[in-house]
């Protein structure tokens, strides 16, 4: 087992465990911190899969900005109250988990039919940038900047108390 493969499985295991904590944990703030751990381990996986640029962007945008937003909202809305489980009980939980298992089985059979891929791929940032700033991605880039502006204005208007 090469070092790459070992690191991959370690980070994959961390990602799965913290994802389970996100879903299973009662207190929303712990879920948020577990999600941060998941995002950072996914970033490590992106790096191992040959995209250092996206790996670092993931930490900057997702773990560093979006999750800070989540934590701020959690702390300011003071969600110290833990969720109380109601009498909805086992039927719903069992159905959800069964559906999840069906999803895994279906997509898993499709994935298993794909052949193994060769290794050794590293994406230099310069080439990613060249692709990003050439048509058609350039138009999508400009459109996404307008999207961000709209989201900025929308978030301020929606969250203002009047």
């Amino acid at each position: 087992m090469t070092l790459e493969a070992v690191l991959f499985y370690v980070f994959a295991a961390v990602a799965v465990v913290s994802a389970l904590v996100v879903v299973g944990q009662r207190h929303p703030a712990y879920s948020a911190f577990a999600l941060i751990v998941t995002l950072c381990s996914l970033s490590a996986l992106f790096g191992l899969l040959g995209s250092p640029f996206i790996a670092v962007l993931q930490v900057v945008v997702y773990a560093g900005a979006i999750m800070v937003l989540f934590l701020f909202v959690l702390m300011l809305l003071d969600v110290k109250r833990e969720e109380r489980p109601t009498g909805r009980g086992w039927a719903l939980k069992a159905t959800a988990i069964a559906l999840g298992a069906v999803l895994v089985a279906q997509v898993g059979t499709v994935l298993a039919a794909l052949g193994p891929a060769a290794g050794g791929f590293n994406a230099p940032t310069r080439q990613v940038a060249r692709l990003l700033f050439s048509a058609p991605y350039l138009y999508v880039f400009e459109a996404s900047s307008i999207l961000i502006l709209a989201a900025l204005v929308g978030a301020v208007v929606l969250a203002k108390s009047d």
Partner: protein, 104 residues
């Protein structure tokens, strides 16, 4: 770095697993912010799938697409949390089931 181990297939299975965990979380959780976090988990699983396919096909389009998914996720998180704050102001609860005014 040529001829490395095949990391693409394990990555795709991991992406599938994370997506399934996120989907189960969206069904099961009652706190609306936790549901939102499970949606972000699903988006990240899809990002992982994009990167894995980008490596499998040795093109860079997957990475550019992940860039855009990141951007859209940021915009969506901002607006979604603003909506949650506004809704909380009205009903003083974060229970998903209590936002049922439009139910028939």
């Amino acid at each position: 770095m040529t001829g490395g181990p095949d990391l693409v297939t394990p990555a795709l299975f991991l992406s599938l697993g994370l997506f399934a965990i996120g989907a189960v979380g969206v069904f099961l959780r009652r706190n609306v912010i936790t549901v939102f976090m499970c949606i972000e988990l699903m988006l990240n699983a899809v990002n992982l799938a994009f990167i894995a396919f980008s490596r499998a096909r040795a093109t860079l389009d997957g990475q550019v697409l992940v860039f855009f998914v990141l951007t859209v996720a940021a915009a969506e998180a901002a607006v979604g949390l603003a909506i949650i704050i506004a809704a909380h102001r009205h009903k003083d609860t974060l229970d998903v089931d209590s936002f049922n005014l439009m139910k028939w």
